[in-house]
C-alpha cells in the first residue's frame, strides 16, 4: 500500500480556551476525494487550515506527501520549521477559499501566473502560457485579461481554483468554496471540481453541498464539536447514517 498523501494523527487545536479540534485522525490516499460535512463551528475549516499550516496545531502530527507539516523531527525532538521551509511544503498544497481572495490589483492571468513565476521560478513567458492553459481548463479563456472586480463570483472562484492548480499541487483543499456564491453560479464551480476528481486529483473538500458530496466523494466525514462522529462511503454516511447526530444534521440540511 502506497503512502497516503495526507495523514492526520490525533490533532488538537484550541483558540484561547475554546478547543476546536479534539483529536482528529484520518488518511487520504492518492486520487481520493474526501468530503467533510457538519454544522458550522464543528472544526472542518480549521482542520483544513491546519493541513497547510495556516493554523498551528497544539498536539498530534500531520504529514503531507510523507513530510511532517510545520516541524522537522530530529530523533525525539521536534524543531519548528523556518518560514522558508514551510513555504516549500505549502507549495505542494493548493487551497481555495470561501471568499476567493483573488489579488484585486492583478488580472486573472497575472493572478494565476504570479506564484509559479516567483515561487517555482518559472520563466515569465512559460508561467503566462501555463496560466492561460489552466484558465482555459476552468472555462475562462475569454476572461484572462479581466480584473477580478469585473468577474462574477463564480468566475472569480474558478480563477482561484486555476491559481491553485497552476502550482501543480499534490492535494487540493477546498474551504466552503460555493458558500459565498449565488445559487445559479454554484454549478459552474462544482463542475470544475467534478472534472478535477475525474482526473484523479487528491481533494479535501469542506462543503454544505450534500448532493454533490453524495455524488462525487469517495469518503465522507461527518464532524461535530471537534470530533469525527461518523465516516465512510457516501451511500452509508449520507443515505444510512448510524449516529443520531448525523441523522439530525442531515435531516436539517436535506429538509428544505
Amino acid at each position: 500500500m502506497a503512502e497516503p498523501i495526507v495523514k492526520v494523527e490525533g490533532i488538537h487545536k484550541s483558540f484561547g480556551r475554546l478547543e476546536v479540534l479534539k483529536g482528529i485522525s484520518m488518511s487520504v490516499n492518492q486520487g481520493e476525494m474526501f468530503v467533510l460535512i457538519g454544522p458550522s463551528g464543528s472544526g472542518k475549516s480549521t482542520l483544513l487550515r491546519c493541513v497547510n499550516h495556516l493554523e498551528k496545531i497544539d498536539a498530534g502530527r500531520i504529514w503531507v506527501d510523507g513530510d511532517l507539516v510545520g516541524y522537522r523531527q530530529a530523533g525525539e525532538k521536534l524543531h519548528e520549521l523556518r518560514d522558508s521551509e514551510i513555504v516549500d511544503s505549502r507549495a505542494k498544497i493548493g487551497m481555495v477559499f470561501q471568499h476567493f481572495n483573488l489579488f484585486p490589483h492583478m488580472t486573472a492571468l497575472e493572478n494565476v501566473a504570479l506564484a509559479p513565476r516567483i515561487v517555482l521560478d518559472r520563466k515569465p513567458d512559460e508561467a503566462r502560457r501555463r496560466a492561460s492553459e489552466v484558465l482555459d481548463r476552468v472555462g475562462l479563456s475569454d476572461k484572462v485579461d479581466e480584473y477580478p472586480a469585473r468577474l462574477s463570483g463564480g468566475q472569480q472562484q474558478r480563477v482561484a481554483i486555476a491559481r491553485a492548480l497552476a502550482m501543480e499541487p499534490k492535494v487540493m483543499l477546498f474551504d466552503e468554496v460555493t458558500s459565498a456564491l449565488d445559487p445559479e453560479l454554484v454549478k459552474d464551480v462544482l463542475d470544475v471540481m467534478r472534472d478535477l476528481a475525474k482526473l484523479g486529483m487528491t481533494m479535501l473538500v469542506v462543503t454544505h453541498e450534500i448532493g454533490f458530496a453524495r455524488e462525487v466523494a469517495n469518503h465522507v466525514i461527518f464532524m461535530d464539536d471537534g470530533v469525527i462522529v461518523e465516516q465512510g462511503a457516501p451511500e452509508q454516511v449520507i443515505r444510512n447514517p448510524r449516529e443520531e447526530r448525523t441523522k439530525r444534521f442531515l435531516g436539517l440540511v436535506l429538509e428544505h
Partner: protein, 325 residues
Amino acid sequence: MTPSTGTSDQLTQPGPSQTIEAVPVRHPGRWVAAAIVALIAAALIRSAIENPNFKWDVVGDYLFDERILNGIVKTLELTFLAMLVGVVLGVLLAVMRLSPNWLIRGSGWFYVWVFRGTPVLVQILLWNFISALYPTIDLGIPFGPSFIHLNANDFITPFIAGLLALGLNEGAYMAEIVRAGIISVEEGQTEAAKALGMTRAQTMRHIVLPQAMRVIIPPTGNETISMLKYTSLVSVIAVAELLYSAQLIYAQNFQQIPLLLVVCIWYLAITSVLSIGQYFLERHYGRGRLRDEPVTLFEQIRSGWLGRRASPDDLLQRGAAGGAR
C-alpha cells in the same frame, strides 16, 4: 381603482416605453446664492486691478528674478529630500510599529509621539542650534570605537538642519500613513499568498504593498504639498529658499506686498503641478478596483463641468435598476 384592461399576455409583453419630457424642478435659492457669490468675486477682482498698492508691475518685474528662481530650486530640493527622508523613515517606523517584539513596537511609538507632539518650527530651531548640545558628532558602535568624527558646526549647515528637522518630523506622519495602508489590506490576501507558498517578503512586495499604495498615495500627495509650504519655515534659520529669497529682496527695496505675491504665485503654481501628478499616481494604483476604468483627467473635468445634468442614458440605467428591485 381603475379597471384593468390588459390581459396577462399584454402585461408580459413590454410595449414601447414613453419618453420623459418633464419640467425640471426650479431652484431659485441656488440662483440667488450664485448671484451673491458672483458679485463678491467681481468686487474682489476689481479691487485687485484698481488698487495701486498691489503693484502688479513690480510683481511682473520680480516673478522671474534670478534670486527668486534660485529660491525655488532650494525649495524644491528641500521638499524632495525631506519627503525622501520622511517616506523611508515612515516605512521603517510603520514596520517597527507592526512588529511582534514589544521593544521595537514601543520604540516606533515613542518616535512618533515625540515628533508629532512638538511644533516643527521648534524642531527646526533646535536642529539649527544642535552644536550647542553636541559640539562634535561621532559615528560608530555605541560604547565602542567610532569611525567618523565631525564638527557639528561645520556639518550641520542651516540647510542640513532644516532638512533634518523637516524630514524627521515627516517620518512620524508618514509612519502612520504607511501603517494605515498596510492594515487596510484584507487578511485573506496574505493568507492566499501564504497558501501559494510565497515568503513573507514576497507577500509584502507583490501583494500587500501594491494594494496598500492605494491607501498610502492620496495622503502622501497631501503631505508633499504640505511639505512644499512648510519649507518656508526654514526661512527663520536663513536658508535661502523661496520665501527667504523674497524677504532678502524686500529688505532692500521695501516692496513687501508685491514680493509676497510673487512667492504666493510660485507656491500656487507648484502645488497645482503636484496635484496633477498625484491624480495620475492615484489612477495607477487604483487599477482593478473599479468595474469601470477610471476616466481621464480631461473627461473628469468635462463631466464635472456638466456633471449636474444627467444624460438620458443615465436615466434609463437608473430606471432599469429601480425596476429590477
